[in-house]
């Protein structure tokens, strides 16, 4: 017999023959349902899955990516190649948003499609899908909690730190380091905590496969003299990454480093092209409330719970104005003082 905490106020006890110890957690969703912010029937409707919306969105996505890559090709022999590669890079780095949705299995009703598309996106942006899934699960459990949330972006202490983060240099250093570490068979203590022992070898295998793929691409470019992947993928990815860093900062940075989802996450109201690119992930607080709700239903969820979440009406720029204002006021005024 053991005790399970529910709602942090009530304790229930029950026998559970041959079951492992387990503690009930109050997910934001359970909380929203118990507070009446959402009914179970509404939730059921919102969670409805189908492949249709994602396949349409994906078709438009491929069309946009083909258009921006064509622009790079058309600009091949002029200085315009750099701005076009940057534009194309903005699309490339947004594969993160699609991969993020896929690790929640909410893009397609057919589960293997989520794995397949998520894995392809991961290869494009150098993020192993299986590993990201585990890491991201922990982010949802410990959102914004220092020392626990593996995806926490700390509030920059000064403008130099802020600009350094946006440059993506620390990001690439950490990403490549992590991939090579896994390739060499090493998981750090935090990773060992969120990746079950039975899964650790598959994470290492996944990293090795990815590194082998990149080496094969380099070898292919070198031996054939076809350098298109460099100009249509790798350089745009590097050029576009600061945009993704800029967007990723708006999700939690500058919000309180507390467990309450109403506080620790920011929803950014942005225009439709940005919403298209990020697969509605600007509705980030809604996503943290109910991560089983697919991307196409997030605007509807927003309408239902908008009184209970933190919203930045001025979008990504507004979020950065908020972050910079907190920076100017100094560490004592920032939320993220841990």
């Amino acid at each position: 017999m053991y005790a399970v905490r529910v709602n942090c106020t009530r304790e229930i006890e029950f026998h559970q023959n041959c079951e492992h110890k387990m503690q009930a957690v109050v997910t934001p969703l359970t909380q929203a349902l118990s507070e009446g912010n959402l009914t179970r029937e509404e939730l059921r409707e919102l969670m409805e899955r189908s492949n249709g919306p994602a396949l349409k969105w994906l078709a438009a996505w491929v069309a946009v990516a083909l258009t921006t890559s064509s622009l790079v090709v058309f600009a091949w022999n002029s200085w315009l190649i750099w701005p076009t590669m940057f534009l194309h890079g903005i699309v490339i780095v947004h594969h993160f948003s699609l991969q993020h949705e896929c690790v929640h299995y909410s893009v397609f009703r057919t589960r293997w499609l989520n794995k397949l598309v998520g894995t392809i996106c991961g290869y494009i942006i150098v993020l192993p899908n299986r590993f990201f899934r585990y890491e991201h699960c922990d982010h949802h459990t410990y959102t914004q909690l220092h020392g626990k949330d593996p995806e926490l972006i700390p509030m920059p202490k000064n403008i130099t730190e802020y600009l350094l983060f946006l440059s993506s240099i620390p990001f690439w250093y950490a990403r490549v380091n992590e991939l090579l570490r896994h390739t060499l068979g090493h998981l750090n203590d935090q990773e060992k905590r969120f990746i079950p022992a039975v899964e650790q070898s598959s994470i290492i295998r996944e990293a090795r496969l990815m590194v082998m793929f990149y080496l094969a691409v380099v070898l292919l470019m070198y031996t054939t003299g076809l350098w298109a992947p460099l100009w249509l993928w790798i350089i745009p990815l590097i050029l576009g990454e600061p945009v993704m860093r800029f967007i990723r900062m708006t999700e939690h940075v500058g919000r309180p480093t507390v467990a309450q989802r109403q506080e620790n996450t920011r929803t950014n109201l942005v225009s439709w092209p940005w919403r298209f690119l990020c697969w509605n992930m600007n509705f980030h607080a809604e996503h943290h409330y109910a991560s089983s709700v697919p991307f196409h239903a997030l605007p509807d969820l927003h309408e239902k719970i908008k009184k209970h979440i933190y919203i930045e009406p001025a979008g990504y720029l507004g979020a950065h104005r908020d972050i910079l204002a907190q920076l100017r006021k100094g560490p004592s005024s920032t939320y993220a003082k841990g």
Binding site: F14, H20, M47, R111, R133
Partner: protein, 105 residues
Amino acid sequence: MQRDKQWRNLIAVSDLRKNWVTRVDFGNRPLAVYDAPSGVYVSLALCNHGGADLCDGYFDEHLIECPLHQGAFDVRDGRAIDTPATRPMKTFPARIIDGCVQIKI
């Protein structure tokens, strides 16, 4: 001494959410009752990965997906289908008698 397991009434079939999961507190034990295409199945309601309530999750045919991390289980035998859930969930034999779902417990 361990008592023999017996069939016990759990919930009227008419009170189940159609083609979905219904939460039932059996004494102080939270259970999830699934109205699946091939019949009714019952498991513990708390996910064995992190303790989220599976009754708030997404249910599709025979698959229950956890609302917190989207780990998934087959409700027929409790088998873990998707990570981060890796262990089978605890299920209970279930049957319908006179319009009532019974479990052997």
